[in-house]
């Protein structure tokens, strides 16, 4: 019983962390139309940043600045934001597919750098020397994990509220206008370059938060955690949930992460041995099928973006009647 419960806590923690990353992507893609194909680089920057800033000093690689945890976590987010700023300045002139390719390249370069630059972050062996905050007081057991889940859920809710408030304000209107037609927005006095960059950085900082929490949870991060598959998973979560809809983003995450976990478990449990060898590959195929299927049959996702309309002077959301680009 406690085994199942502790598994549920584990599952919910990872799903909640990934939800935060998906919300960050939703700000970029769902609201602003920025095709970030390198989510994992910003996720990783947050993770590596948090552990380097908060870990104990290491002889063989950078860091171990032993900063208090919340400062380390914020620092990780700031590093993700800085990376986004640099990448953004260079690539945000690019439109959809080119931006996707460029950011995908950034993520692959990030992974390679982490794998090969041992002096920077421990190379392929990963980054060590980090201890989970308050571990001495709380130990390693179920209580710790439960409290950490609560901490993560708190941050998920805070992120959610922040984004909802943002996209329902004139700022959200501005982001959507940039997504819909940059030229028209420009003709109405808006500066797309500035707004795209702001949304790209804000979304990446949120991904950095997710990465920081992820690395904290495992007290470890390595190049294996920043492989392109994670970018695809995060995209699948957003597409299934519904781009442009924050509730959809969170629901999509729990759904896809649930399906991913269940399929891994199911395959390893019930599939014949020779099939089990290919569990990972089969899961890759599965996630591809889900993305393609969703785009074909329900491109708006399970939870459609709502149209902001007016009723008695108050902006309110109503069901949108199937308008696509």
């Amino acid at each position: 019983m406690i085994g199942l419960l502790s598994y549920l806590v584990f599952f919910a923690t990872v799903a909640a962390i990934l939800s935060i990353a998906v919300l960050g992507l939703n700000l970029q893609w769902g609201n602003t139309g920025l095709f970030n194909g390198g989510v994992v680089a910003f996720f990783g920057a947050g993770g590596y940043g948090t552990l380097i800033l908060g870990g104990t000093p290491q002889a063989d690689h950078l860091g171990g600045f032993a900063l208090p945890y919340l400062i380390a976590l914020s620092g990780g987010m700031a590093i993700a934001g800085l990376l986004a700023w640099g990448v953004g300045i260079l690539t945000l002139r690019l439109r959809h597919d080119y931006l996707a390719i460029a950011t995908f390249g950034v993520a692959v370069a990030f992974e390679n750098l982490m794998r090969n630059a041992e002096g920077l972050a421990g190379g392929a062996k990963g980054l060590r020397g980090f201890e989970r905050p308050l571990r001495q007081a709380l130990g390693d057991g179920f209580t710790y994990n439960l409290l950490f889940l609560i901490f993560v859920l708190g941050l998920l809710i805070a992120t959610y509220i922040f984004l909802e408030r943002l996209i329902r304000s004139p700022y959200g209107r501005l982001l959507r206008a940039i997504r819909e037609d940059e030229t028209a927005a420009m003709s109405l006095g808006k500066n797309p370059a500035r707004i795209r960059l702001a949304a790209f950085i804000a979304g990446s900082v949120i991904m950095g938060l997710a990465g920081g929490l992820y690395a904290t949870f495992y007290a470890f991060i390595s190049p294996q955690d920043v492989l392109p598959i994670l970018t695809f998973q995060i995209w699948a979560m957003l597409i299934v949930g519904g781009a442009g809809n924050n509730k959809g983003a969170v629901m999509g995450t729990f759904l896809i992460w649930g399906a991913w976990t269940a399929s891994g478990w199911g395959l390893s449990r019930f599939a014949p041995l020779e099939v089990q060898l290919y569990t990972g590959s089969l899961q890759f195929i599965l996630i591809g099928v889900v993305i393609v299927g969703m785009l074909l049959w329900r491109p708006q996702g399970l939870f459609e973006e709502k149209l902001v309309v007016s009723q008695s002077g108050r902006a309110k959301h109503l069901k949108q009647q199937g308008v696509r680009e």
């Binding site: 206008a177 420009m186 309309v309 902006a315 696509r324 680009e325």
Partner: protein, 257 residues
């Protein structure tokens, strides 16, 4: 003569080896409704794009309200009071008609990241004012009943009216309209003309591209004609009606009636 609000001198715009706008010079006087006519492909829209900063000119200079604005970006020009509509409407499709219009005002508190979080009361008050004005403007262009529709779904003519509503929302001094009446039904065109004249009386200047000669001759003065990128005529509507070049090239059919 009145001080020109927009002054264009020797503007040229090339696409590769093709010269779409060829040494155009003109002055738009404040308070006028100037008509810009010319055959398809004459370079009218291209000239608009250059004037509004959407395309840099290959050579020449532009000054707006006494300020050199050559190569200034469209958003800055809009802030200075130069608004435009597009020949082919560019609605924000997956946004409501209302949102399309509410986007336009300048200096919105909520368009800065601090707005929704640190200045939310001020922002809400401003939003209310913008909302009220947006409904007024939508009523003005007879789109108020469609406020909650997705802008991508309204009809082609309604999209043209939405273009106009958006640009009016921010209250620019000079408004460039690219074929405002094309595809709009005649009774709505009449409404449109009334609105333009009403705004003109209130001090707004218009530069209007239009193929409907009836519209141009009745409501625009002066008239400028462009052909193959060059200004071929510049004068009053009356002069235009008897000008041999225009009669030949453009007004032939109507002149015979």
């Amino acid at each position: 003569m009145v001080e020109p609000i927009l002054s264009v001198s020797n503007i040229t715009r090339d696409f590769g080896t093709f010269r779409a706008v060829d040494g155009v010079s003109l002055d738009i006087s404040g308070g006028s409704i100037t008509g810009l006519i010319g055959p398809n492909g004459a370079g009218k829209t291209t000239l608009f794009n250059v004037l509004t900063g959407m395309l840099p000119p290959s050579s020449g200079s532009i000054s707006f309200r006494g300020k050199d604005v050559t190569c200034m970006s469209p958003d800055r020009l809009f802030e200075l009071g130069l608004g435009r509509t597009f020949q082919i409407p560019r609605p924000f499709s997956r946004m409501s008609v209302l949102e399309n219009v509410m986007l336009a005002p300048l200096a919105q508190i909520g368009e800065r990241l601090s707005g929704p979080f640190l200045r939310s009361r001020e922002m809400r008050n401003q939003e209310q004012a913008i909302h009220a004005r947006a409904m007024e403007v939508l009523k003005f262009v007879t789109l108020d009943a469609l406020a909650d529709q997705a802008a991508g779904q309204i009809s082609g003519g309604q999209k043209k009216l939405l273009e106009l509503a958006r640009v009016l929302m921010a209250d620019p001094q000079l408004i460039l309209l690219d074929e405002p009446a094309a595809g709009v039904n005649p009774s709505l065109t009449r409404v449109l003309i009334e609105k333009i004249e009403e705004l003109n009386d209130a001090g707004k200047t218009f530069l209007i591209i239009e193929h409907d000669m009836d519209f141009v001759m009745k409501h625009c003065d002066p008239v400028i004609a462009l052909a193959e990128g060059k200004v071929v005529f510049q004068g009053t509507a009356q002069e235009a009606q008897v000008n041999p070049i225009l009669l030949d090239a453009y007004l032939g059919a109507q002149a015979d009636v």
